[in-house]
């Protein structure tokens, strides 16, 4: 499988995603500069975390105008796998590839901590290695991860089973205390209606090795590898 890791000027999880794809999972990977349009030969595009343009405006609001975004749009329309992590999720929402928006954390603080995520839909290309209701432990690191969508959009997300992950307790209960940023209905990650684009605030690339405290992130990458293989 070949991962394309998209690099905006302020992206900082690009190296971490590359390390996971290449060194941990032994897959092919290359970087895709945001001004370039060549996404040929890639099976999956990763939009990593960071502050694409400093995020002084809204997160992802400027990145969506980068030349590479048009290619990502067509890539997704062709059915290619796209995963947006943290800032990547924010960009995908701004670009309209995913519904909703990510706003300032309700506690108005940046949060870097481990969280528990309940798998809401194990039937996506990104979660096929999980079981329904499985709890994954994955870190977050963001100041604007408070997911919001209007009631119609939310109803549609639920109806079409597009909610991939919810913040939960380690036992899988969805509680206010388990929600680190005030996200609507504890939403941590969603897929598009076709199921080939995932956006999630937590960082799976930070937990693919035992030495880093956990390996639950691997399940997400390995699910994608199953689909492509």
């Amino acid at each position: 499988m070949k991962f394309g890791i998209v690099v905006f000027p302020g992206t900082w999880s690009d190296g971490d995603c590359y390390h996971v794809a290449k060194t941990v999972l032994g897959q092919d990977a290359r970087y895709v500069w945001h001004k370039d349009r060549d996404v040929s030969g890639l099976d999956c595009l990763v939009l990593p975390g960071g502050f694409s343009y400093g995020d002084y405006l809204r997160t992802g609001a400027i990145a969506r105008f980068s030349p590479v975004m048009e290619e990502i749009d067509s890539f997704a329309n062709r059915g290619g796998l796209v995963i947006g992590i943290c800032n990547g999720f924010q960009i995908l929402c701004e670009a309209g590839l995913l519904p909703g928006v990510l706003t300032r954390n309700h506690n108005v603080q940046f949060r870097c901590q481990w969280v528990d995520l309940r798998v809401e839909n194990p039937n996506t290309s990104f979660t096929s290695g999980c079981s329904q209701g499985q709890v994954l432990r994955i870190p977050i690191s963001h100041g604007e991860g408070n997911y919001y969508a209007d009631p119609d959009t939310l109803a549609s997300l639920i109806a079409k089973d597009q909610i991939a992950f919810r913040y939960s307790t380690p036992q899988g209960e969805i509680t206010a205390d388990a929600n680190p940023n005030g996200s609507l209905e504890n939403i941590a990650g969603i897929v598009n209606d076709r199921g080939n684009v995932l956006g999630m605030m937590p960082h799976p690339e930070r937990c693919c090795e035992d030495a880093l405290g956990g390996t639950d992130g691997r399940i997400i990458f390995e699910s994608m590898m199953q689909v492509v293989a």
Binding site: P9, G10, W12, S13, G15, D16, H19, V20, T23, G49, G50, F51, Y53, G54, D55, Y56, Q109, F110, R111, C112, Q113, P139, S141, G143, H203, E205, R206, E209, A211, L212
Partner: protein, 735 residues
């Protein structure tokens, strides 16, 4: 004499210094030139009161790749063709004026020092001091500083992995904000700050130049500011996004192999960067500030030369490679302009188009007068050192209640409220996150890790600056030993009051002497550092506060230790003591003495030979795989140390010995050179044998287990209660 006292005051030069300038130039300086002297001869850039002292710090080691002060930061070889670059720097005065931007730009500045050497920044640490949190002003400063560090550090993708914070009225109105950055570079890829070669081009890259930060070095950092003058324009404003782009663009430019030298623009902006770069090679420079991109119209030559606008770098390339290098900056949408070129006349000539604004000899600019003041012991020492600790009443308050109070004291309380606001994981190297004795980062592509910590106890240094200086070094290295790392280099930030006052100079001198002694004993070099003087409010100096940043090496990443107790039934052993002593001398300078008895007094003590042996033993025991946990016994003493191992491990402790006599000294005394370890009972004979070989006393004090912290006859507290007191205190103190 054509210069007014007000003008000299503004740039913090004395009349005598002005006269020395006139004499050495053979003429009066122009206004621009005087501004340049004010900066270069400032305490901040010129180290007028500290250089003679700093020279005595050990600065050689087979691992060192550059001499201290020769480059933007110190560099040590860690094997495998790799080197670690590190430095710590203060941003105290700007943070006092504007905590958010002051702290943020402190991070930005130290990060630029690291990538200026071609190294990728891989870790940040912060050492912070504030006044007590029951005062609203201190809460605001604390919140602002943490938010500023979080804002800047998180945006640039460098993990903030550790540090320390302490609160005392001594820092009210004069907080300390010391930022440390660590970078990794392939030995062959290191870039120097020495600009040479006639005709080579000076290229200015990064942000436009504005009116922010003018007189930052000379005015803000080099004198006390007790009056209510508006200081805000001297604080710079940061742009972390540009910094992030600058990191990537500069490292990519370095990879072309065409960069001859690089230096960041920090204190005193263009002036110090150009002057210092060419001074290192004895060259000169001719620059045209007419080319400098500006944020606003009407900026004078004086303002351009002294602006401390952030996120700017000076890059030196040959004319032949200029296009290739600037192409990289274009790719990243970073502005670059040709500022001038290297000359061989030993002069810095500043033009604005065709008009000459300044022409000064580099060797005079970089040769400020150096002062040695006759230090006099401060009067308070007689009183604090003569206290009869044995006469202290034993509290009527229960040991349990005192323990809970100490755990909630912000110095000791858990720091999660701070570090959860910092991205401490990005770059996926963080094996031990903030909250332990030292942070541990793996070095990808090798089996090694590095360990990092900062330490410095102002209370001890206040009570005995010499012993305090020793303890600062010893404790930083002890923190490294507790994770299993061998210390290989230090960086230091010396935070003191006004050195022109004999009693402050005494503190500075004694602290540096103590640090020197400890470094010699431990065979450690100080590879870089920074000095922040004039930390005073209304004529009262802060506690003398040397902050030590320490780098340790773990050759095998699999062999490291954390502070958390692991397994029920493990035995708990105190290394470095043959009993749990109730010696009241150990209460000297303790948190207990301050919190419970309201006294900062006594004479701290350390046995350096024992310290060295204890650390060696701890590292060896970890290397041999004997230990399940190791934790430095420090602020708050043995009871706090044990509690932290319990809470982080979510398991209790039960003492196996009884404490007689002064239980307050036994539980809360801060005797040095002690480490609490836990291990399986099977491993105890091996540890005892090792300890005997190292000549280190030890005593078995209890075992891991249960859900309480239990010292039979003294206290028995539920883990949950301890956790609530310790974990939630900081947030609670902030209201």
């Amino acid at each position: 004499m054509s210069v007014s006292k007000e003008t000299l005051d503004e740039i913090a030069l004395s009349q005598m210094e002005y006269e020395a300038i006139v004499e050495r130039l053979g003429r009066e300086p122009t206004s621009v030139e005087l501004g340049m002297f004010g900066s270069m001869w400032s305490e901040h850039c010129g180290y007028k009161h500290s250089k003679l002292l700093l020279r005595q710090l050990p600065s050689s080691s087979p691992r060192m790749l550059v001499l201290p002060g020769e480059e933007n930061a110190g560099v040590v070889d860690i094997g495998d063709g790799l080197a670690v670059v590190m430095k710590i720097e203060s941003h105290n005065h700007p943070s006092a004026v504007e905590p958010f931007q002051g702290a943020a730009t402190g991070v930005g500045g130290i990060v630029r020092d690291i990538f200026a050497m071609g190294a990728r920044p891989i870790a940040l640490l912060n050492s912070l001091r504030f006044g007590p949190l029951d005062e609203v002003q201190n809460r605001n400063l604390f919140r602002g500083v943490v938010a500023g560090i979080s804002w800047y550090g998180n945006c640039i993708g460098v993990p903030d992995v550790g540090g320390e914070v302490s609160f005392s009225s001594s820092y009210s109105g004069n907080p300390l904000v010391n930022a440390m950055c660590v970078g990794l570079v392939e030995k062959g890829g290191m870039v120097r700050a020495k600009a040479s070669g006639r005709g080579n081009l000076l290229i200015l890259v990064g942000a436009d130049t504005g009116r922010d930060g003018i007189h930052g070095a000379s005015g803000l950092a080099s004198r006390t500011f007790e009056d209510e003058r508006e200081m805000r324009p001297t604080v710079q404003v940061g742009n972390p996004f540009l910094e992030k782009v600058l990191i990537e663009a500069c490292l990519e430019a370095v990879a072309t192999g065409y960069i001859l030298a690089m230096q960041d623009l920090g204190a005193a902006g263009l002036t110090s960067t150009v002057v210092e770069s060419v001074a290192r090679s004895g060259s000169g420079a001719r620059i045209d500030i007419g080319k400098v991109l500006r944020r606003e119209d009407g900026m004078t030559a004086y303002e351009i030369m002294l602006s401390e606008s952030q996120e700017r770098m000076l890059v030196v390339v040959s004319a032949e490679h200029e296009k290739a290098v600037r192409h990289v900056f274009d790719k990243w949408d970073v502005e670059s302009i040709i500022l001038g070129e290297i000359t061989e006349d030993g002069m810095v000539s500043v033009y604005d188009g065709d008009t000459m604004e300044a022409c000064l000899p580099v060797d005079v600019l970089t040769d400020p007068p150096l002062y040695r003041v006759h230090g006099v012991p401060p009067a308070y020492l007689e009183e604090t050192q003569s206290i009869d600790l044995a006469a202290l009443p034993i509290p009527t308050e229960t040991p349990e209640s005192i323990l809970l109070r100490l755990l909630s004291f912000p110095d000791i309380a858990g720091k999660e409220w701070i570090f959860r606001q910092y991205d401490h994981q990005v770059q996926t190297n963080t094996l031990q996150a903030p909250g332990g004795d030292a942070a541990v980062l793996r070095i990808k592509g090798t089996g090694k890790s590095i360990a990092l910590t900062t330490d410095g106890n102002g209370r001890y240094c206040y009570l005995d600056p010499f012993v305090g200086g020793i303890i600062a070094v010893a404790e930083a290295c002890r923190n490294l030993a507790c994770v299993g790392a061998e210390p290989i280099a230090l960086t230091d930030c010396l935070n003191f009051g006004n050195p022109e006052r004999p009693e402050v100079y005494y503190q500075l001198e004694q602290c540096v002497d103590g640090m020197t002694k400890a470094c010699q004993e431990m065979d450690l070099p100080v590879i870089s550092g920074n000095v922040s003087l004039y930390n005073e409010t209304r004529g009262v100096a802060i506690w003398p506060t040397p902050v030590i940043g320490a780098l340790g090496l773990i050759e095998d990443s699999g062999k490291q230790c954390t502070i958390a107790f692991k397994d029920e039934g493990d035995v708990v052993v105190l290394l470095g003591a043959s009993d749990v002593s109730d010696d009241v001398q150990s209460l000297s300078g303790s948190v207990y003495l301050e919190i419970v008895h309201g006294k900062v007094a006594g004479v701290p003590y350390i046995d350096l030979a024992l310290e060295v042996s204890v650390q060696r033993l701890c590292r060896r025991a970890i290397y041999d795989g004997l230990l399940h946990s190791a934790h430095d016994c420090a602020d708050g003493g043995l009871a706090v140390c044990l509690t932290e191992s319990c809470v982080t491990g979510a398991v209790g402790f039960i003492a196996g010995l009884t404490i007689n006599g002064r239980w307050d000294a036994a539980l809360f005394g801060e005797a040095q050179s002690r480490i609490v370890v836990s291990l399986s009972a099977d491993a105890l004979p091996a540890l005892e044998k090792l300890a005997a070989e190292h000549g280190v006393p030890l005593v078995q004090i209890g075992s891991v287990g249960g859900a309480t912290f239990s010292l039979p006859g003294l206290l028995d507290v539920a883990l949950d209660d301890l956790e609530v007191a310790w974990k939630g205190a900081l947030e609670k103190a902030l209201g």
